[in-house]
């Protein structure tokens, strides 16, 4: 579209201008709520990035969003819009919890942690299998089936937690807490400056996931098949790529990644499974995938942006009671709007400006 703009302009200047616009709208709202926008922004940045512990929390949230963002991105590469990451993450949580409840008393940590991985990924993948299968074999729209599967997951999990997992006499609709052996090592074990943050090794898993994703999608035959199927089904057919298996396998990979996101929240932080623990992370994953253009670095940056808002926004509303936490939900929306949907708004103006400059120089 804006091929006449230099790379630095499309990759840095435009996103920056867009982010600025979103922040401008946010500032207006904060001003109307009776607070000083500049001060608010200062608090937000400082609490999200300005100290090690805040940064730890920011990266903790980022981890979850990277994984759900990857989940949505993988599916998008194959032309599938997986709205079901949230449900898949929910089920992934069930998978790892069942594993941990079963084995946390008898197995050592170095076995439990891989088991948690497998449990989360397998259950997430299994929950994504059926929508994938129905799309591949019956042509049922994956968008609709995954939305439906989110609702179904909510019902199912409600039932399972209430009926089987609540320890006797407890109020909280949640499983019992896992034994410490099943807890993921936290990064503050090695980096004490991080303080009491739940940032754990799933952060490394997420980073590793980004690298693997980038490699598999762009440098292997599976990635090739995936992208080919996503861009042109006819040509994929011509090339002997089975659309059906690409769809099913991709959905399962997507679901598996979403399942892994549960690892961070449960094994890494709370250590028990509770009702609606995903808190909509799967939906943030959609925004992350779209804003990050399904590119590894983009996914990371978008996830980090949402992590910053989550952590900084929470602290800000704590310090400024006039700004309810919901304000940051609105700001999230504005950022997605300006950086995602109106990403090229400033492109014409910028290119005109650059040309003008260029003429002057000549």
């Amino acid at each position: 579209m804006n091929s006449d703009l230099p790379r630095w302009a499309t990759n840095i200047a435009l996103p920056f201008l867009n982010l600025l616009s979103a922040l401008f709208v946010a500032a207006a709202v904060i001003y109307l709520l009776g607070e000083n926008p500049g001060e608010a922004l200062g608090i937000l940045i400082k609490s999200a990035l300005g100290n090690a512990e805040g940064l730890g929390y920011t990266l903790f949230y980022t981890t979850t969003f990277v994984l759900t963002g990857l989940s949505v991105s993988v599916a998008m590469q194959a032309g599938l819009f997986n709205i079901g990451s949230d449900g898949q993450m929910y089920l992934g949580g069930l998978g790892l919890t069942l594993m941990m409840l079963q084995f946390d008393a008898i197995l050592p940590a170095w076995l439990l942690i891989p088991l948690a991985f497998i449990g989360a990924a397998v259950f997430g993948a299994a929950w994504a299998f059926l929508p994938g299968y129905l799309q591949a074999r019956r042509g049922s729209h994956v968008v609709v089936t995954t939305i439906m599967f989110n609702f179904i997951a909510a019902s199912l999990m409600n039932f399972i937690i209430i009926t089987y997992l609540i320890p006797a006499g407890e109020q909280n609709p949640a499983s019992r807490m896992f034994a410490e052996a099943a807890w993921l090592p936290r990064l503050n074990d090695w980096l004490p400056v991080l303080g009491d943050t739940p940032l754990n090794i799933s952060f490394l898993v997420a980073i590793f996931g980004l690298v693997i994703y980038g490699f598999v999608v762009w440098r292997t035959r599976w990635g090739y098949a995936l992208r080919a199927a996503g861009k042109n089904a006819h040509a994929a057919h011509y090339a002997g790529i089975s659309m059906a298996s690409v769809i099913i396998i991709t959905m399962m990979a997507s679901g598996g990644l979403a399942g892994l996101a549960a690892l961070n929240s449960i094994s890494g932080s709370t250590h028990y499974l509770s009702l609606n623990f995903t808190a909509g992370a799967g939906f943030v994953g959609i925004a992350v995938a779209l804003m990050g253009r399904q590119q590894p670095i983009g996914i990371f940056l978008a996830a980090a942006l949402f992590g910053i808002l989550m952590q900084g926004g929470f602290d800000l509303s704590f310090e400024k009671p006039n700004i309810p936490p919901e304000t940051f939900i609105f700001i999230q929306g504005m950022i997605i709007l300006f950086c995602g949907a109106m990403e090229n708004m400033y492109a014409p103006a910028l290119s005109r400006l650059l040309k003008l400059n260029w003429r002057k120089n000549v």
């Binding site: 609702f151 909510a154 409600n158 109020q171 009491d196 932080s269 509770s274 929470f314 704590f318």
Partner: protein
């Protein structure tokens, strides 16, 4: 200097017209009575809850009251890290020498409003609407059914839940629809325990000229004349008392079960439902109350019994 106090709400937030708000009112009353300030904050997720409680403890807050069962595990964890800080968990239980767990016997209050409903119904059909199917809501339902059946064993209680996701507490349209459906099937007194969705249900009962029952705080004032009563759960008292005890140096850790006897739950009678509750009804409800207090009637708690008697 004076001790410092803090309140941590759960996802419902402080104006939910339900137990978060009730806690807020308790703290406000404490502030008014003593002139002492407090900090309050809302944590949307359990991770945030843990984070904020830790921050508050570090800031030197002496008593942190966490509202809602979702905070239970976090309280237990943070309390261990800060043995000098006192914690109160409301609606949930946590272990620790510095933790006070406040639980309510919702079934007892619900039993009383069940008696009221059983006396008020002409159709012998009642309605109950829960937000999500969780143990707490089951306790409400179970007490209500027991109360109604104590009046007339033939009374039938139609039960529904709103949903399974967090939006189940914020779906007044569905709440209203459930109430309508129950009324069309004959129910003439409806008891919603479903947060904001319940407001939709009460609205619908009002429109159809049937009776509604408020929950958690005294909601009789919402629709005077068509509110039969409210099942009040004195979260405000619990917060107020804990704050007061700390101030007076009488605060104690441990599990407290607040039932009728402790004034933790009750039914509400005020000017807004005076016209609906006849003297005869009032007498029978209070008799039921006496029976519970004296131990003559034991209201089954499904959380302990594992299920609700048929």
């Amino acid at each position: 200097d004076q001790p410092k106090y803090a309140l941590v709400y759960d996802a419902g937030g402080k104006f939910d017209r339900s137990f978060n708000q009730s806690a807020y009112e308790g703290a406000e009353r404490f502030k008014k009575d003593t002139g002492l300030a407090y900090i309050d904050v809302q944590a949307i997720s359990s991770v945030q809850g843990e984070q904020v409680m830790r921050n508050l403890a570090r800031k030197g807050v002496n008593l942190i009251a966490a509202i809602g069962f979702t905070h239970a595990q976090q309280v237990q964890m943070v309390a261990k890290e800060f043995p000098k800080t006192k914690f109160v968990i409301i609606d949930g239980s946590a272990n620790g020498a510095n933790v006070s767990s406040i639980l309510f016997k919702e079934q007892e209050g619900s039993y009383l409003v069940g008696v009221a409903a059983g006396l008020a119904t002409k159709t012998k059909k009642l309605g109950f609407i829960g937000g999500i199917d969780v143990p707490l809501i089951r306790a409400f339902a179970c007490g209500y059914v027991q109360g109604a059946k104590s009046v007339d064993n033939k009374i039938e209680v139609i039960q529904n839940i709103v949903g399974t996701t967090a939006s189940a507490w914020n779906d007044p349209a569905k709440g209203s629809e459930l109430a309508r459906s129950q009324m069309e099937r004959g129910a003439d007194v409806i008891f919603p325990a479903a947060g904001g969705s319940g407001m939709g249900a009460l609205q619908a009962t009002k429109e159809k000229g049937k009776l509604g029952i408020g929950v958690d705080s005294n909601q009789n004032y919402l629709f005077p004349g068509v509110m039969l009563t409210s099942m009040v759960k004195r979260v405000d008292n619990a917060v107020y008392d804990n704050f007061m005890q700390l101030k007076n140096g009488t605060w104690k850790a441990g599990v407290t079960n607040l039932g009728l006897k402790e004034g933790g739950v009750d039914w509400a009678l005020d000017k807004d439902n005076r016209a609906v509750i006849s003297a005869e009804m009032e007498k029978r409800i209070n008799t039921a109350k006496q029976d519970i207090l004296s131990g003559k009637v034991k209201v089954v708690d499904p959380r302990e019994a594992g299920s609700c008697p048929k």
